[in-house]
């Protein structure tokens, strides 16, 4: 066991900066909306601050034990089963057509957010165990497929195709890093794409979103509304932005400006300077995360670190690509910045684990 080092201060400051910045932007984006829904401008900001405090505690906690202790069969299987159970519980909770949350009274928890790092943890350990037989169908691929597939299916049923697809994508990338035969990976990717298209066409609203993505100007007030509004926000901001709090697009033009479209609000209020800095910080996260993973003392740490880094950066890139009209809108939050307690806490927890890994580098 290598000696414990000081944690990566740059990597530590990234989520702290992003989430504090997120609180500011959430307040700006949601004050009017919050007033409208709850009679107080502070509703969303308050909940986000509470989640930030809790998430920070989780992060510190995750930094302060040897991450290799997570490689316990009971923990791995237990958390995987546990999260699957929670996902099913969410599906069984009769609260409208979207069954994404489990209400804990004071706050609603989104098990699909937790599923991402748990699946990564499981895969990192599992794929390390199968290092020599990575291309073995019976020993490796089918079990991994079952684990990933069942979790993704439960999330898809919520329905949240975006998160399900993101989970499959990150799992695929982990398999690739673990040394999977590129042919199998490409075949799987092709199969997944076909499956995605089939699923898209099963749900009418998804077809609409896709069509909107392909031809956004066809219907400026209908399905293309979201992308159109998002682009108007970015465009209004220009280089310098209209100043913090001065944005107008958040006044019911942007759908859910404090969650999925927070980047559009940043674009309008802080301009290209603001959006570029956020993008740069995600680039920084990629660099420090990969650096930490590469310096991990073991292959499990490497895979876990890469997985968590990819999870955060890929999801960030997907969100930014979506709101900029480069990808179909699927409903993924911008890690650390978007409103959402589960996402924030899970993100901070993940970085906590990454920092944990970084402390074991040389």
């Amino acid at each position: 066991m290598s000696r414990k080092l000081a944690f990566d201060r740059i990597l530590f400051s990234i989520p702290v900066a992003l989430s504090l910045f997120g609180v500011v932007m959430i307040y700006s984006a949601s004050a009017v909306l919050s007033m409208q829904r709850f009679g107080s401008p502070y509703h969303y900001r308050g909940k986000q601050v509470a989640a930030l405090v809790a998430g920070f505690v989780l992060m510190i906690w995750a930094m302060n034990f040897d991450y290799r202790r997570l490689r316990n069969r009971a923990i791995l299987m237990g958390s995987l089963m546990g999260v699957a159970a929670l996902l099913m519980l969410a599906l069984l909770t009769p609260s409208g057509p979207v069954r994404r949350w489990i209400s804990l009274g004071f706050f609603s928890f989104q098990p699909s957010e937790l599923a991402k790092p748990i699946l990564i943890l499981f895969l990192a350990s599992f794929l390390d165990n199968r290092a020599e037989e990575i291309n073995d169908w019976r020993r490796t691929l089918i079990p991994a497929g079952i684990a990933v597939g069942s979790i993704a299916f439960l999330i898809y049923m919520q329905p949240d195709l975006g998160t399900a697809a993101a989970i499959c994508l990150i799992s695929g990338l982990l398999l690739y890093l673990a040394g999977l035969n590129p042919k199998i990976l490409m075949a799987g990717g092709a199969l997944g794409s076909v499956g995605l298209i089939v699923m898209i066409f099963q749900a009418n609203y998804r077809v609409q979103r896709l069509m909107t993505f392909l031809h956004p100007s066809d219907d400026p007030l209908g399905a293309g509304f979201q992308i159109r509004q998002s682009l108007l926000s970015f465009g209004s901001g220009g280089i310098q932005g209209v100043n913090l709090g001065e944005g107008r697009q958040k006044l019911f033009f942007l759908p859910e400006p404090h969650t999925d479209f927070i980047y559009s609000v940043i674009g309008e209020e802080l301009g290209l300077l603001g959006t570029s800095v956020v993008l740069l910080v995600f680039g920084l996260l990629l660099w420090r995360g990969v650096r930490a993973a590469l310096r991990a003392p073991d292959r499990f740490g490497y895979l876990l670190g890469m997985g968590l880094t990819l999870f955060l950066v890929v999801q960030g890139a997907l969100n930014m690509g979506m709101v900029l009209g480069l990808l179909p809108t699927k409903g993924l939050p911008l890690p650390f910045v978007s409103y959402g307690g589960s996402s924030l806490m899970v993100g901070l927890l993940s970085v906590g684990v990454l920092l944990n890994i970084s402390q074991h580098s040389n």
Partner: protein, 682 residues
């Protein structure tokens, strides 16, 4: 595969791929936030902001004594935000039933993708109530200014009319559009994504138009209209015109036409009724033109008034044509008698004493063949061919007022020049423009001294001849007890479509001035196609007298002989009969002012200063904005109207929830405010 410290190729690949993805996002950001930013900014603003145009209040039009002839009142208009209307067909059916707008048109407008569509402009309070009762989402009201002519058809051809967008379309409303309209203001309201309006700040307040003070006198206008009406009715005429002008200044005191129209509902009248015949139609002046002929001959010193001319015993040969007298044949007549008795042969002989070019020059000096330049739109030049285009008959025809087309205004201007010592003044109706701040502009026209077209002695000689026309000649019916009238009758056959004289269709006219030696008024009456007679002397001359007498009394012009005692009050009451709006007459005009030889002082000064003070008072007055929250729209509108505030209404609901400016703020009349309606009392 994996070794600590080394960088696996797959990690490199993956990191490079992800780096490319992030770079693509950066490029996209540059594209959207720099390259496409200007266009997107415009598009965003257009959905976020509603520019509400604040219509300016059109300036009022006053008569010379400051009485209102045209003013602007606030009325409701209905508009819709089609994006908020869920069922355009149903909404269109409901609204069409209530407002009488064509269902198909309305449905088309309500189905559009735009965020604004007029439903109906300028509705009545009852219609508004009915629309409110329908409770259709997305239908709103806005206060608009509507032109109102309190005296109806009075002076309608001078005033003209303004359209639904308050744009001047004819008359003074048109010619003074730039001054009267005012400057529009705008209010930029912020809007949110659900179409709700947030309060915006007013960027520019509208500037009210200037008030126009006319030279027209409401009382004289009224009695002119009345007598013209009676004359036209009595003779079942096709139409008619009467103009009352002040010879020494050129100002028009009254101008009336028949048929006429009510500018409050101008669209209901045919084009012919709206036409200002006084300046827009031409007729052959006939005998009236003999003044021009005689004046030219006198001015050229070819003859003196007493020169005797042989009148060929009733007919004269011009080339192949023979021209006869209208009635009796004459042998020897003096120049004065030629005009008095309206001898055709004598006039032709006078005209032919001059070369064509000289005669033509005098005709144009009198103002014929060109516009008078009055400040009203639609004036025509008339018909006057230059000598180069004359036929062998033209010189003779012109001498007796044929082959020439003139407007009634040209005729009365020429007559007024004789009255005003031979000086032709340009006629005008706009005495002054008064700004909201009380500033006064007098049009240059009113200060134009005019030009001399006849020597003093010629003018005086013609006046003597014209006096004789009334005392002993064809115009006896124009005589007024106590005053000396000078004037000339005119009777001309109309020309039909084929260019021939139309049998039995005449234009009868009388133009004259009074008192002849110190003229206060020059008046022309033209009657188009009268029945039961056609001579100017019997049709138009009596109307002249019926207009002139009460006008002189109203103006306090003392009878010249001093012997005729008039019960002024009774006469004036008679003159004003049926003129309800005049119950409170100002005292000024009743004070008799004896005129002097140099300057007739029959006229009270124009009420320009009074109007100025009134305007200045209005613009300086500030008031405190009342608290309107919780009040009904009706109540709020009433309060706003009393304070002269321009009100924009947003939101929907029975009571006012929000207002801008806030209660207690200082507001001035004419400024804008906005009220937001809500569902419940707060």
């Amino acid at each position: 595969m994996w070794q600590r410290g080394s960088v696996p190729a797959r990690v490199t690949t993956l990191v490079i791929s992800l780096g490319c993805a992030l770079a693509a996002i950066q490029l996209r950001l540059v594209q959207i936030q720099i390259l496409r930013s200007p266009g997107l900014k415009v598009a965003a603003r257009s959905q976020q902001e509603t520019v509400v145009t604040l219509d300016p209040k059109r300036g009022p039009i006053y008569d010379r004594n400051g009485r209102e002839l045209a003013l602007s009142v606030d009325v409701d208009s209905v508009y819709a935000d089609p994006s908020e209307i869920t069922d355009p067909t149903l909404a269109a059916r409901k609204l069409s039933a209530v407002l009488g707008v064509r269902f198909e048109d309305l449905r088309g407008r309500l189905k559009s993708n735009r965020r604004f569509a007029w439903v109906e402009r300028k509705i009545t309070p009852a219609q508004r109530k009915a629309v409110e009762k329908q409770r259709i989402k997305g239908v709103y009201f806005v206060r608009e200014s509507k032109r109102f002519y309190p005296k109806g058809a009075l002076a309608s051809h001078v005033l003209g009319y303004a359209g639904v967008d308050n744009q001047g379309l004819d008359g003074i409303e048109y010619s003074q559009e730039a001054e009267v309209r005012g400057k529009a203001g705008y209010l930029i309201a912020l809007r949110d994504g659900r179409g709700h309006r947030a309060l915006g700040k007013s960027e520019r307040l509208p500037t009210s138009g200037k008030a126009v003070v006319l030279s027209v006198d409401e009382v004289i206008q009224h009695l002119t209209e009345r007598e013209l009406e009676n004359t036209v009715l009595e003779h079942q005429a096709r139409g008619g015109t009467a103009i009352v002008m002040r010879p020494d200044t050129g100002e028009i005191l009254a101008l009336a036409n028949r048929p006429t129209f009510d500018p409050n509902a101008y669209a209901d009248y045919p084009e012919a009724a709206r036409q200002n015949r006084a300046i827009g139609t031409i007729y052959e002046p006939g005998s009236t033109f003999k003044i021009v002929t005689a004046g030219a001959a006198l001015e050229e010193k070819k003859v003196s008034p007493s020169t005797v001319i042989y009148c060929e015993h009733g007919s004269i040969q011009i080339g192949r044509f023979t021209i006869k007298e209208d009635r009796l044949p004459f042998d020897y007549l003096s120049v004065a008698e030629i005009v008095e008795k309206s001898s055709n042969v004598g006039s032709i002989k006078l005209a032919t004493m001059m070369p064509a070019s000289v005669f033509y020059k005098h005709i144009t000096d009198f103002g014929f063949g060109q516009t008078t330049g009055i400040d009203l739109p639609g004036e025509v030049k008339g018909i006057l061919r230059p000598p180069a285009q004359w036929s062998g008959l033209s010189h003779a025809s012109l001498a007796i007022g044929q082959e020439v087309g003139v407007t009634p205004l040209q005729s009365i201007s020429a007559m007024a020049a004789v009255a005003h010592d031979g000086i032709l003044r340009r006629p005008w109706v706009v005495a002054g423009l008064v700004g909201e701040d009380g500033s006064l502009t007098r049009p240059a026209r009113s200060a134009d001294p005019g030009r001399r077209i006849l020597s003093s002695s010629t003018a005086s000689a013609l006046t003597a001849i014209l006096e004789k026309v009334v005392t002993a000649g064809t115009g006896k019916a124009a005589a007024i007890p106590g005053y000396t009238v000078a004037g000339k009758t005119g009777t001309a056959q109309k020309i039909d479509e084929s260019g021939r004289y139309a049998r039995g269709r005449y234009v009868a006219s009388f133009a004259g001035f009074v008192p002849s030696r110190n003229p206060a008024l020059a008046i022309i009456v033209v009657v188009d196609e009268p029945h039961g007679g056609f001579h100017g002397g019997e049709i138009a001359a009596p109307a002249f007298a019926r207009i002139a007498l009460p006008a002189l009394q109203y103006l306090g012009v003392m009878p010249e002989d001093g012997g005729v005692v008039l019960n002024r009050n009774t006469e004036i009451q008679a003159a004003l009969k049926g003129f309800e709006s005049m119950r409170t007459l100002p005292r000024g005009p009743f004070t008799a002012r004896p005129g002097t030889a140099e300057q007739p002082a029959h006229f009270v000064p124009l009420a320009l200063n009074e109007v100025r003070q009134r305007s200045a008072r209005q613009s300086e007055e500030t008031a405190e904005m009342p608290d309107l929250s919780g009040r009904s729209l009706r109540e709020a509108n009433f309060v706003m109207a009393q304070m002269g505030l321009i009100c924009k209404i947003g939101g929907q609901g029975p009571v006012v929830g929000n207002q801008d400016p806030p209660p207690g703020a200082e507001v001035t009349a004419g400024s804008a405010c906005q009220l937001v309606l809500v569902e419940e009392r707060q």
